[in-house]
Symmetry: C3
Subunit: 221 residues, 3 copies
């Protein structure tokens, strides 16, 4: 089995490890993290080093790939960009829980994480470094752009577009054929009935725009 690392030692590290262990395709040899002490353990995995030293770590440990285990979309973008700059051909693998159902003609990028119970229907396009939490559902012919995320229990109708870095949070329903811009966050429990532009926070039933957001502004607690 290929030796891989988890990049990011926070909460998401734990359930990403769970997915990878259940897939049984890769061997997690450690964690790359910018906070925890090198040599210490997170969720049972040794912290091997910092991402800025990824080149040396690859040589030292024989790392053959990795998954970014970070929930914040913008942070996932920054980390992947830095690694790609240092190691342009770094092998970002996917972590797809065995219970995930993927329809025909779904196009899935690299570095995608999908937790238990997700369903992605035919002809949807799933961008790079997207994240799908427990039981997220993407209907047919959707377009989920790079670094976007859909949280637990949220569902989209068919032909929905979700822009780059945008986050649909917990328990959201998005009806058919809507376009949600990039860097936009939809708050928990929302019912989205209209398109949403770039760079906004929106929520409610029905969902309305609450305020503008900056690129990279935090949305997870």
């Amino acid at each position: 089995m290929k030796k891989i690392v988890l990049i990011g030692g926070g909460n998401q590290c734990h359930y990403t490890a769970d997915i990878i262990n259940k897939e049984d395709k890769y061997n997690i040899i450690g964690v790359i993290d910018s906070v925890h002490e090198i040599g210490s353990k997170v969720f049972g995995y040794k912290v091997l080093g910092r991402q800025e030293n990824i080149k040396e770590l690859i040589d030292k440990y024989g790392i053959e790939g990795g998954v970014i285990s970070i929930g914040d979309n913008w942070a996932r973008y920054c980390v992947s960009s830095q690694i790609k700059k240092l190691v342009p051909l770094f092998n970002f693998v996917n972590a797809i829980h065995p219970s995930v159902v993927i329809g025909e003609n779904v196009d899935i990028g690299e570095g995608v994480v999908a937790m238990a119970g997700c369903i992605i229907n035919p002809k949807s396009k799933i961008g790079n470094f997207t994240f799908f939490a427990t039981g997220a559902q993407v209907d047919h012919d959707c377009n989920i752009n790079n670094f976007a995320s859909i949280s637990a229990g949220s569902i989209t109708g068919g032909y929905v577009t979700l822009g780059k870095y945008s986050a649909i949070t917990l328990g959201v329903t998005v009806i058919d054929r809507l376009k949600i811009g990039s860097n936009t966050v939809v708050g928990a429990g929302s019912l989205v009935l209209k398109d949403l532009p770039d760079n906004v926070l929106a929520y409610g039933n029905p969902c309305i725009i609450i305020k503008k957001r900056q690129k990279g502004e935090k949305f997870l607690k």
Copy 2:
């Protein structure tokens, strides 16, 4: 494997084909459709002809059954009626995704389509030509009448009745023991706390009646 056709060449055709291919019980030999040119291809399947010529098509292609792949409930009723008139013993098969969970003592009719992740609990009665989209949940002792539908992520409590031709759309919650009449549509994201009569459009949290509907009035975009 029995040779079957998909009747209806729109979007629903694609994910119905996906289900049937994953079930691996039937061989889809083509599509019967009233719009696409005969001989052209939809989602990789040849358009064999029109439904009004079903008798000749059966003879010509050795068709042994079919599934109606049409999302609109009333249209599904009209098409099934026409075919039954022309070929009274036509074999309408079910398309049940392998991930669907069906409880003990569930009674399932003919021509039923259930997408990935649906759960139907014990002692529920599932009528003919009903449609269950991704992750729809029907609790115990429910009665889902002919030509009714439940869209993605919607759930019913126990002992719920859904009338003929009625549609529960995306992300709806219906509490226990309610009766929803026939030809009624419940809009997306609704929380249904009271019975609903026949022939209405209703939505909201809590769900209220918005207006009367005509038989066969469109509800899908």
Copy 3:
């Protein structure tokens, strides 16, 4: 296979039996119930006797364990207490539908019932005699206390605490890091954005406190 009984002959008895039959780990030899006539049948299972006679029934029928199939949280507490008083080492088994997904390092108590499609994420703690209805989702690092329940289609974020005897009913979303007290009921379709104290009924989008509740007050119809 170990011979077990279902304790409680109401609706929950039927789907608990369905789960146990699909798990294929135990042999249900009958039902213990305080209402139905002894010797009569419920859902195909013989009523063996009353719970106050559990000791004699164990001797007579060679009962090796049981599951309480009662939906009301307080009633489940009362019944389990009485049985534990009479037979301190009674073997309360779990009924976990084969489709349920359980993450790494989840700690599960005794007498737990989880219906089809439930997902429990890593490091959550699932108390004794808890009940999870169809498709309920518990995210990572949650703490679901003894005798609590989560109904169909309801989801929690990570680090959520649900107090003893408390019930999250149908189609509820609870965001990350909230604490819901004990003996509290969250009504259907609610979006919970703030902590909730002990002994209240709360609902709405967003969820607000509606009234105080007494210990053991009924919440199911």
